[in-house]
Symmetry: C2
Subunit: 601 residues, 2 copies
């Protein structure tokens, strides 16, 4: 178990059987076919020679298969990271020079080192800062962006852009150049794949096929489309009629390379590398968590940091550039039935073979078919129902998801995700900044105390019991002070204030200072300040200060104790005061406590 | 009351009497004398002609006196903002050109507009993100930085730098140029002022002076020093012997100016202006809050935004540059006895008169005396006891304060404060990311339920009651899921899990999804999931989802209800099961509940 924690491969490799093997092999074939042209395209996007994309998919994917915890994550070059690489490396070297390629290796090296560092420090919990709604919004918006970016291949035109408006604007301005044969290939491929996904399996089952056969045939859809369209292009010489094809790919295994380690290069690339690491990790973990959740599996974010860090270090030494768990490729991998990271290893082997020998086979594969595969895969993740669900449940969650979707579509994935996280955190802090404080009374006949506004409860005009419904810390510490001072101004008969701490999980130093100020002021006014139901950890901490010993009152184990003690005292002492009985009209003595029934507002 | 909220001047101007007038006038005289050379120095620091510093102190201080809520805050050019101005404006215009001065006006204009916007939107609560320890650390570190930066005037040498190391290094490298006459003036001024602050009042009281006389004489200390040292320099021709003096100041009232409003200028200065606004607001509010707390007064952060915004707009139209509530000048103002913002208005009048006519009087004032005044004033705020207090109470608060002090000294005030806030927020989130979950049982003879590890309580092996000591939200949602799954694996006799929600103040959408997942899994295992003591606001929200209707169990008003209901059921149903009584050894039937006394570990 302990070894499997550090080498996740051990958790699945021992029980690896024929079922997994066939699933993984099929997924690897599909992903390999998809990755060859995609890797080339991403490398060009990063400003690197095409083969760098292939190399970046081989060693990293193998290292991740050994060290990563996601069963379906496909590691390699991805669009966002490729773009970030181009912009970072472009600032230190001229595109096309040897220095440029070395800087890309260095970027992968620093990025990998940073991820490993976070992993060793076990800072993977940082991924929890991505709330479910933010992840759902991000995935939906990214799916739309990826699909939109692939439309150019289906239309046979060129287009650029990182935001939805940029992409659609660019597509619109090139619409006059649409290649209709490409549209037919891409359109029919997409239509066929959508049908395979939605209609084929039920149709096969109706025709009497067994569940297993229907499943395999359904998953073979992409292979059928790739084969058919490649054959069509080859047979009808469609490449000569403007249909873009994958074409010739250089043939070689990944070389052994060294990243540049000059201090000024490391310094110049440090910040971009950290940015790439964080965005890559966030993208990778959110994809991995989503895919794992679909199969009720789990991933370990700390170990993911190690896996992705090793993958990037691997890329740095084998002619690649920064990599991460890719969105589209992981979805295709998952969809094609990948069961274990072995699918990734097979993909790496497939890519190595392809890089060496098999590339001529995809020479006639039209880009439009690949684009169709990607579009169909990512569209299945576009799900706007999260907007409706969060709207119904919580406006704060709705704002977070809506902002994530809009900002991802409008300003790109990096800004979208970062804003989603920032907005979730700020909304949470905002919610805790004005704590709910309920005045409570005893539910008659019980030892249970509830909100006077929601329940019919017993109260006592000389004892004010406030249940503080939030941990007290710097953001809200002053609010309680204001609230109590306002209550004192109103209640002249008040002799005791009890703070019921059942919902206070923390009292930080700022809040301690506010409590001391409250105690000081109440003491001057002759009003007792008491605490009840203080939890162990909070009490342990309060005892480290002088607050408890200076407290102008008592700490009660339960609110019932506080009620019995203080309410009795108040009746006795009320009777000794000049205006005793002034409020006797509304209170009736029941046992040894003064009871006033608060009405349910 | 309502008018006073929007025009804070109304809250003090009506009851303004002779006592306030004399205090304010004396403070204004001291601050005016201090501000004339300081303003000139800050303007030079900002790369502007010297008179800009004077102009930036006149209209802004008047506007703040009308609209601001702090009694002692002195608004004007400050060191940090002057530095930020130089760096921002330097990127869009050449120093010494007319465009440079216009860009500085524009910077003040945008900054003022942004502060007004935040104020109108009532976003002043953002100042609460500055915890008490962070403010204390920031003030201590800034005091040290300011004192260190003034040492050069006392030594009669030149030095630069924004961090403690830079300043001390620069001082050390110029030590060979020390002017000993300056050291004698500055040193004796500082020694005298320290004695005035610590020893004069007790000495006067011992000599039979009344409290009031002692107070006035004590506060007149700085004036005495200024007068004596100016006279000494004049009489002994010390300026010819290398003692730096204030010298000649141009004579004119503030002119009417227009900020540049070209879109590209606004765009280029937007981000720096926002940065300056935020840092200025944070500095100003932390100074204002500290000074207000010393006199048990309060400030309104929303109204502070309005006051500071108006002050900056004022600076933009009267030949100034960005201003904020200054640290050193506010402390001097407070120390000199300022009672109301009228002190600021008098200071503005004093500066206007000085700018027009009186500047020759301070011609011979040595810079060393002014530096001594500032050093003595800020050293009184340096207080490291916050380190000891937070260390004893809470490591998280200690880390926040230590980081704020170290980063402010080591990297400058901007980074120091920003890091302090960021570290406090992250530590708070980190603390909530792994919630304390206590297994609870009933305190015998009561309806009160406490931690089984801390108290001697009744438990039932078939009912697991978990008190969740944290609001459930995205950062910690998964932790509860893990914890419950781990508990299921251990307890095979478990039939009911009760989540006691007395300390759960929020359940966000991410946590709702986790609760649904827990419910789904427990249902499959035949274990009931119940909630108890759910608060009104949390219950209201849960009812908006399908969670309650799908719940495989009940929601109990009180934990006592849950205990009585479920514990009875479990005894009855246990008796019908094959292995009934297996755990009967450790449980005894008491009334209608099975009781097992957990030992105090």
């Amino acid at each position: 178990m302990q070894a499997a924690r550090f080498l996740p491969i051990l958790s699945w490799a021992r029980s690896y059987g024929r079922g997994e093997l066939s699933s993984d092999l099929m997924a690897a074939v599909i992903v390999t076919i998809m990755l060859i042209p995609q890797s080339l395209a991403y490398a060009l996007l990063a400003g690197l020679p095409p083969e760098a994309g292939l190399y970046a998919s081989i060693a990293p994917i193998l290292l991740y298969a050994i060290l990563g915890t996601s069963r379906a994550l496909a590691v390699g070059p991805v669009a966002v990271v490729s773009l970030l690489t181009a912009s970072a490396v472009g600032q230190v070297a001229e595109q096309g020079t040897a220095g440029y390629a070395v800087a890309a290796l260095t970027l992968a090296f620093i990025s990998g080192g940073f991820l490993l560092l976070l992993g060793v420090l076990r800072l993977g919990f940082l991924a929890n800062f991505l709330s479910h709604p933010v992840i759902a919004g991000f995935i939906t918006a990214s799916g739309i962006l990826i699909a939109a970016s692939q439309l150019k291949h289906v239309l046979g035109i060129s287009a650029h852009g990182h935001t939805l408006l940029e992409i659609l604007g660019s597509l619109a301005s090139h619409l006059n150049a649409v290649n209709w044969i490409t549209v037919i290939i891409g359109g029919s491929a997409a239509a066929f794949l959508f049908w395979v996904r939605r209609g084929l399996k039920p149709a096969l089952l109706r025709l009497g096929a067994s569940e297993g056969v229907a499943d395999v045939l359904t998953k073979a859809g992409p292979i059928a489309v790739v084969t058919a369209s490649t054959a069509a292009v080859w047979a009808m010489d469609l490449a000569d009629r403007g249909v873009k094809i994958v074409g010739e790919v250089p043939q070689s295994l990944p070389p052994l390379t060294m990243p540049g380690l000059a201090p000024e290069l490391l310094e110049a690339l440090l910040v971009p590398a950290i940015l790439i690491s964080v965005i890559g990790f966030v993208e990778s973990v959110s994809v991995a968590q989503t895919l794992a959740a679909k199969k009720r599996q789990r991933i370990d974010p700390d170990q993911e940091l190690i896996g992705l860090g090793a993958a990037n270090i691997g890329a740095a030494f084998t002619g690649g550039y920064p990599v991460t768990g890719g969105f589209a490729r992981s979805v295709v991998n998952f969809d094609a039935g990948a069961e274990t990271p072995a699918a990734g290893a097979f993909t790496a082997i497939g890519l190595a073979i392809a890089a060496l020998a098999l590339t001529p086979l995809v020479y006639f594969l039209p880009n439009a078919t690949l684009a169709a595969t990607i579009i169909v895969a990512v569209m299945s993740l576009v799900d706007f129902s999260i907007l409706r669900k969060t709207w119904a449940y919580s406006r704060a969650d709705f704002i977070a998801v809506a902002a994530t979707i809009l900002l991802t579509l409008g300003l790109g994935v990096e800004i979208g995700v970062a804003s989603g996280v920032a907005i979730s955190v700020l909304l949470h802090l905002y919610k805790t900044s004005s704590p709910h404080v309920a005045e409570v009374g005893r539910v008659p006949g019980t030892e249970h105390f509830r909100n006077t506004l929601r329940h019919k409860v017993e109260t006592d005009p000389s004892v004010l019991t406030l249940r503080v419904d939030e941990s007290l810390y710097f953001v809200n510490a002053r609010v309680l002070e204001e609230l109590i001072y306002n209550r004192i101004a109103n209640g002249s008969k008040l002799k005791h204030i009890v703070l019921m701490f059942s919902a206070v999980n923390e009292v930080d130093y700022s809040a301690l200072e506010c409590l001391e100020a409250i105690n000081h002021r109440l003491k001057a006014l002759g009003i007792g300040l008491h605490l009840s139901e203080v939890k162990g950890p909070v009490m342990d901490r309060l005892k480290r200060s002088h607050f408890i010993e200076n407290l102008n009152g008592q700490v009660f184990l339960s609110q019932q104790n506080a009620w019995v003690t203080l309410s009795t005292q108040s009746v006795v002492s009320d009777a000794n005061r000049d205006h005793a009985g002034e409020d006797g009209v509304e209170s009736a003595t029941s046992g040894n406590t003064a009871v006033a029934v608060a009405h349910h507002r």
